[in-house]
Amino acid sequence: MSGYRLDQGGTGIDRSRPLRFTFDGRRFDGYEGDTLASALMAEGVDVLARSFKYHRPRGIVSAGSEEPSALVTLRDGARSEPNAKAPMIPLWDGLVASGQNAWPSLRFDAMAVNGLAGPLFGAGFYYKTFMGGPRGTWTKFFEPIIRRAAGMGKASLAPDPDRYETAHLHCDVLVIGAGPAGLAAARAAAGTGARVVIADEGERFGGHLLSDAGEIEGQPSAAFAAAAQADLAALPWVTALPRTTVYGHYDGQFAAVERVADHVAAPGRAPRQRHWLIRPLQIVLAAGATERPIVFPGNDRPGVMLAEAARTYATRWGVAPGRRVVVFTTHDGAYRTVRDLHAAGVGIAAVIDARPQVSAEACAVVAATGARHKTGATVCATRGRSRLTGITLTGGLRIDCDTLAVSGGWMPNLHLTSQGGGKPVWSEDQASFLPGTLPDRWQIAGSVGGLGALTETFAQGAEAGIRAAAACDFDAAPAEPTLARDDLVPTDPLPLWRVPGKGKAFVDLQHDVTADDVMLAQREGFEAVEHLKRYTTLGMAADQGKTSNLNGLALMAEARGIPVPQAGTTRYRPPYTPVALGALAGAETGAHLAPVRRTPMHDWHAAHGALWVAAGQWMRPRAYLRDGETIRDAYIREARAVRAGVGIVDVSPLGKIEVAGPDAAEFLNRVYVNGFARLPVGRARYGIMLREDGIVLDDGTTWRLEEHRFLMTTTTANAGRVLTHLEVLLATAWPDLRVRLTSVTEQWAGMAVAGPKSRDVLAGLIADVDFATHTLPFMGIARGTLGGVPVTVARLSFSGELAYEVFCGAHHGAGVWAAIMAAGEAHGIVPYGTEALGALRIEKGHISGAELDGRTTVHDLGFAGFASTKKAYVGSAMMHRPALTDGARPRLVGLRSRSGAPIRPGAHLVGSDGRPQGHVTSTTFSPELDAEIALALLRNGPDRMGEHLDAAYPLKDESVPVEVVSPHFVDPEGDRLRA
């Protein structure tokens, strides 16, 4: 219990608005404006979390998104959110959060015994053991133990009740970060009239201005920031986005997440988060810098935190991090913490500075506090159990304290420039990487380009904003300087990466990677920085190594005896901070993952007992169930009705492409294996098209409606692919052909009326069409009207019976369907679904999707004679390769069950040796033959008629004896369809 709420101060909290919240089952109080971290610190809570491997107690380290340590589970139930960073959680009344990765409790975690065996669990220990035992020991025994121990937070199994939104922004200037530099840049750019977007991950704009106790242009820093935010938000051409993290750069486009309603208990009508894709002409990166800890033994104890964070808790939230604070630094900047904590009434026990010489200005700050000032000194050990109670300096001096505020310098937030292709360069002076040469269209301002005085930062920001606006052709005069207090500027730090000593010195606090682990990795040859990361897991935790990567790199350089930049830099991978999957997914999830395509007759089907089947995005009736019927009963009944009388099926999902233009016939002649050049107007023709490699792509009928206008039909599954295939050919191979292609799938409703009585149904119904065979023969097309609605009738047959396809405008589909049903009633017309459609076509031996699997040829499918030898067409050059015409290839046959048992789709054909010789593609019960039949692809198939094989289905330990027969089970001569 060391942190407490100061009696006064805190620019970010409203003491008139108390809030209550619950953490780990205990009730606490805070104020409007607090974060969960500041409120817990104010309530004296020391241990917020447990570490990944050793389950050591962890407190609050930072005041921002770099937090490596204080990870909690936010909310509960369906809204619970594991691994939330306490400093990034704004407090609301009734907030509930809990600790994670601890059992039974945060304060006493049984898994902490792992820590006792620390050296055993060094880097990569799991690669060196758990290999023994019989096969499966790892999967069944060791792995579950490791998995349960790892993993941090627990995910809910309940669906997320909130929704997410996606949006796009286009602007002249995107300013990333709204600290002093970003604010200045946005103000300057907006002043020219440029369209500006400014985004910052914080709850409000201001960045470090919110933790600064000084004044800017006569106002307190925080008030200045608030005014600047309000001014920007008031400009119509500026989009100001607080709570918005620009997390990634993707080839000129920036992605950001706005936390629209994460600061309230539940979003209500608002989306929880909004995902932005932002396309700027110019970018000003003002993303700031992250303070770097120092690696020394015991540096993970709760109470050890970053110096700037300690200051921020006091100034912004009015919270003292402890009662006796020691500051450990390598540069002047951390003296601001000394000054501001002392001013807030927090006891400063000592200031430890690794530099032998310290500026007079800094010395004066310490002198004013009366604290001990040790220069040329380092901290080499800490004491305390769940809270720091003291430290030891190198040389042995012990100092009692409850808080150690550490600063090893600053590391610019280069993530986005690096993602954009910038190559960071090492600065020996600042002991950090700087952005280096920037990608085109980028400006940088503020501490992302190296630390400087505040006045200078404002000036840099304004200049960058003006440069960016000017690059978008906006004119502006130089901005007036913004004057700020410029004392205690972070000077170049003394590069201090590690203080030697006994005990675990942590580099990565979340993954428990120690300095010894880095040394071990080097010893074992994992010297490349990527090897280091992968072997030790350094920087791979939920904080993405923001406070650990550079220290780890520097320790590796030290171990190898080379300068830091020679050890390499790790590549910054997006996102900058973790992004909710829901935000990335947006609204297109669940039922909205893809559109549902319904035919114009959908409602009729639904009202008449349709059992649906998905065909790609389409919903099609599989069968129309009557009371007490199974699917099998229904499709057998439907198929029998077609063979004996008349049936109707919705074929609207067939792909339909209008092919028009003076060269349309020539075009079709080149894309189909059979001839189309001389197809007469008013006739349809079945065609097969190949891919360029000679494999069958698709089949269907194409109708010549007019001299220069054709309607091509494709299979439902291949509609998109065929359209693209044709469009690409036309554009790239034959741009000289005068042909236009238009997808008209959704413009036409289509229905097939099939069965010996189909003519009787339609003849009296459709005006202006003579259904006599000599005027409307098989493959003939006629146009007429049905109740005034124009219809096109094509005499085609997939079922093998006398049949007609009736096409009409999609919006007339339901009416035409109903009219045909009404007219057919007297003839016993029956609607049929895809199952009966399948049964009828299998009986007829027509090929479909399962036979056109992208590996079959016209030879395989029995269409070798159908392909023209008189012309060249797509695929004709390649289809005759010996490997594609080999008789031993699997080729189309029919199968008939010898036992009467159904043949299952997906079965394989095996002979007496048990080796597969082919596979079953489509199966059905044949009402016509009263037999279980199938189509199959069998090696040498057509030469094996009458042979007995087994249709093996080892997945169910089944085997059905079959006889190889012709695939044309019904009316092989085609008498019926020509009747």
């Binding site: 790892w138 941090m152 809910s156 997320d160 993707y250 996102p575 829901g582 390649m878």
Partner: protein, 418 residues
């Protein structure tokens, strides 16, 4: 030093100061009996099997950067042999058997976790297609089982098996022996084992050209000098075209495409198998560290950038959240891309030639990780014996022109669609 719980304890007691390098920092010799270009999974396994199975120990692995830096360290770690075409399923099943022995053989725990791979089916037609594949596997002696919707739901808590889903789940197929492994450890384990057999692993050694004697390749020029060998094997998937250009081959049946991978923040065990969405392209598993690991389709355009783009990222997230609506609040921690050799039929190439002295291992599409041991085993055989092993006899370079393609998806020569 042999790895065991005893060596761990002994070293812990001495401050872990005595662990040796896992592979030597070798210096290039002027000549070897064979050179393998590419210190990725396939190159390292090739070297290991050349030494172990064929007695070729005077060999070197030449790596431009650090070993395991390419796709062996960038993939989603899935291991399976659930292929339909027998040429593929037999090859990957050899791989599966090698995976099952790998940790013990290498004395390196690669954490091969046989947690099963489930393919979800959303229509009865898709179940039929799985049945065709599953039966083909069973007839090859490979494990496969069909699952009902209820069985799938019981195995995958949180999965949306309701009819509200856009593509309701009707069932699935599982290969129980399939699973995941710790990808980096595979590279390191083979490197350590190959090193023990005398193989020189030469890191930071980029190939800048090939040394020729007449028509023959007799070595490589590198950033660390010329290295000669009568046999040069190339296993640099993702960059095959660029390297082979140095050998005078301007065109190959390969395009380089980016496949992205995604990992979430670490979570307590949530998904204890590998599951693939059947109405799109998405696979999810959970690493031993707790991160959910995702992958989807390739970005679909030629790219050598090890990073991907927004459309695929968002599509993968949408499919993940649709499958598991409880994942929406979980956060994506990192994503990255790997450069794939996409071949013209979706299947790999392991062959002698096409230039004398040269051997090619390429075209792994996004199936290379699971193939790692089988690829090395067969490539080593091909290099040592100057002819393919029976299991890679179908993976030759001339199959495309001849029409003997191995096209699992039935797509044809559009590499971006495999």
């Amino acid at each position: 030093m042999r790895h065991s719980v005893f060596s761990l304890v002994a070293n812990a007691l001495t401050g872990n100061a005595r662990w040796p390098r896992q592979w030597r920092a070798a210096t290039p010799k002027p000549a070897y009996d064979a050179i393998v270009v590419g210190g990725g999974g396939h190159g390292l396994t090739t070297a290991y099997y050349l030494a172990k199975e064929h007695g070729l120990t005077n060999i070197a692995v030449v790596e431009k950067g650090w070993i395991g830096g390419g796709n062996v360290g960038r993939n989603t770690t899935i291991i399976r042999s659930n292929y339909m075409l027998p040429e593929n399923s037999r090859f990957y099943e050899l791989g599966m058997k090698l995976w099952e022995e790998m940790s013990q053989e290498l004395n390196y725990n690669v954490m091969f976790s046989q947690r099963g791979v489930i393919n979800l089916a959303h229509t009865s037609a898709q179940m039929d297609a799985f049945a065709r594949r599953g039966n083909a596997m069973r007839l090859e002696g490979i494990d496969a089982e069909l699952m009902t919707r209820e069985e799938v739901a019981a195995r995958l808590p949180g999965l949306d098996v309701s009819d509200r889903a856009r593509f309701p789940i009707v069932g699935g197929m599982i290969q129980p022996r399939a699973g995941t492994a710790r990808h980096d450890a595979v590279a390191w384990g083979y490197a350590r084992a190959a090193d023990k057999l005398g193989v020189d692993i030469l890191e930071n050694c980029g190939v800048t050209g090939f040394i020729r004697d007449g028509d023959r390749i007799v070595g490589v020029e590198t950033t660390r000098g010329a290295i000669r060998a009568p046999k040069v094997g190339v296993a640099v998937a993702g960059h095959t075209s660029e390297l082979m250009r140095l050998a005078g081959l301007d065109r190959l049946p390969i395009e380089s495409h980016v496949l992205q991978a995604f990992v979430s923040e670490p979570l307590k065990p949530l998904i204890d198998t590998v599951v693939t969405f059947g109405a799109g392209h998405l696979y999810i598993s959970q690493s031993d560290k707790g991160g959910l690991v995702f992958g989807g389709d390739i970005d679909g355009y030629n790219s050598y950038a090890q990073r991907g783009n927004m459309p695929v990222i968002r599509h993968v997230a949408a499919e993940a959240v649709s499958m598991f609506p409880n994942l929406a609040r979980l956060r994506l921690l990192r994503h990255w891309g790997g450069v794939m050799d996409m071949s013209m039929d979706g299947s790999p190439i392991i062959d002698v030639g096409p230039v004398p002295g040269l051997y090619l291992n390429a075209g792994w599409c996004y199936g290379g990780f699971k193939a790692t041991p089988a690829s090395g085993f067969c490539f080593a055989h091909t290099i040592a014996r100057d002819e393919p092993h029976a299991l890679n006899a179908a993976f030759r370079l001339d199959r495309f022109a001849a029409g003997r393609t191995l096209d699992e998806k039935g797509i044809g020569p559009s590499p971006q669609l495999h």
